[in-house]
Subunit: 268 residues, 2 copies
């Protein structure tokens, strides 16, 4: 069983990448569980064709955990991919990561963390509380950082690298950095920049995903690109990513950058 | 004493806007305290001409709160603006909002929350724990949402509106939504869209700040636009914002949007 997590700044393309990765893995015959760990709870939307997903936190709060059955929160979408959304509390109320904690407790208790591949899609703007949990408890052993060339997203990726390094040094988790995925914003020399960043933090660029209109078109139809435009170049990029993820054994403990080094990298 | 908070998605331009607003207020003869409430702790960088700022959380952790003097953490920058950075814990460790909690306790205890205007610059990607504190404890009575026309930043602004509405309904805080500040990304019909969003959440567009190269140029020189290009149009925009903020009495309890309404607004 492979457990991977995609972390990155909000809006950078984690859910789009996760859903297409899961769809490609599903089409290749693997059993996949995608766990949305973002209070936005829209990670699995395109796999579920826009069908509103109940969140674990909402149901646990309404009924109490013992009264939440697995079928209430785990649904099956495109290509047989099983989907679950952690959810989050109302803004301003308690810890935004609480949905993730509730979700892991529930899935563990129901023996639901079983699949050929589990894909955790996790908010990376703050790496604390519940948001650190997919890495900390040894759920996700392989973390992929999703970033563009923008300093803001590299800053977030570098922070996630700090969290991984810290957890690894404490020795209590097997979590490692598996690579950096560029999800392009279309900047000049973006691939060179993100590749340089990946190397600088002791990792490597696993994929360079173009910014492509097919993503928006598929989204309008509430589908992944894999489903909507299976013969497109973009679909092929996601399939290649799935293949690369399956055979990737280049895992490392990251060496996060200082702010100065990060900035000079971004500005040269 | 006016206490205002600028909230918004990470990278949207809160610190740029806050620092220029503070500089304009300082130049107009007001005493200003800018409190950086983002783990990035770079809110006051341009006011401090790039001088590295110690963070309250770092010093409190190193020495213990009783051994942290006000002069250790509050520095005076451009136009006499007093600057302080809350900081945040190492990624992966504890609550990202802890720096803010430590900062408020310290500033309160030292009687430092005194100025004609206090400007809180607060991360808005998650509105929980320490990040909700500037609103909750009645520090900031007027909240400005900083957003572009991108759905991601409107989503974050809408979440902050939810937090304000919730705190207001509990009656224990005087916190109100004071307006929406568009910090342009340069999208088509961006001002119309963000204006429509502001109206929809029972507020109004307070300023439309152009995306402008002077911001980058000033940044390279470690200055605010107010200092670097005082005769530019952009500097004038920030001065007008300062004037508008001082006389703004159009405060409201926001009416946050459902996801569907938000999306149809963003996509029409
Ligand atoms: N490769 C891409 N090309 C074009 N648009 C993209 C691409 N990846 C993501 N997007 C768009 O960016 C937005 C944010 O993506 P999303 O996956 O929801 O981000 P996150 O999950 O990191 O918050 C979505 O509207 C999506 O359509
Ligand atoms: N009006 C603007 N025009 C051009 N660039 C801007 C403008 N506002 C902000 N920026 C740039 O956007 C980046 C993020 O702004 P910042 O104020 O640090 O965001 P935040 O504090 O919300 O994280 C900065 O590099 C800044 O130079
Ligand atoms: S641990 Fe993180 S998510 Fe939870 S309250 Fe603190 S900042 Fe918010
Ligand atoms: Mg997402
Ligand atoms: Mg900032």
């Amino acid at each position: 069983m492979k457990q991977i997590a995609l972390y990155g700044k909000g809006g950078i393309g984690k859910s789009t990448t996760s859903a297409n990765l899961s769809a490609a893995l599903g089409e290749s015959g693997r059993s996949v569980l995608q766990v949305g760990c973002d209070p936005k709870h829209d990670s699995t939307r395109m796999l579920m064709h826009g069908e509103p997903m109940p969140t674990v936190l909402d149901l646990v709060r309404e009924r109490g955990a013992p009264n939440v059955a697995l079928e209430d929160v785990v649904r099956t979408g495109y290509a047989g991919v099983r989907c679950v959304e952690a959810g989050g509390p109302e803004p301003g109320i308690g810890c935004a990561g609480r949905g993730i904690i509730a979700t892991f407790q529930l899935l563990e208790a129901r023996g639901a963390l079983e699949a050929d591949v589990i894909v955790y899609d996790v908010l990376g703007d703050v790496v604390c509380g519940g948001f650190a949990m997919p890495m900390r408890e040894g759920y996700a052993e392989e973390v992929y950082l999703v970033s563009s060339g923008e300093l803001m997203s590299l800053y977030a990726a570098n922070n996630i690298a700090k969290a991984i390094a810290r957890l690894a040094e404490r020795g209590r988790c097997r979590c490692r950095l598996a690579g950096v995925i560029l999800n392009a914003k279309g900047m000049e020399r973006e691939e060179g920049l993100v590749g340089a960043f990946a190397a600088a933090i002791n990792s490597h660029l696993v994929a360079a995903i173009p910014r492509d209109r097919s993503v928006q078109l598929a989204e309008l139809h509430r589908q992944t690109v894999i489903e909507y435009a299976p013969d497109s170049d973009q679909a092929e990029v996601y399939r290649r990513l799935a293949a690369d993820v399956l055979r990737n054994d280049d895992l490392s403990i990251p060496r996060p950058l200082s702010q100065d080094v990060l900035e000079s990298l971004a500005f040269e």
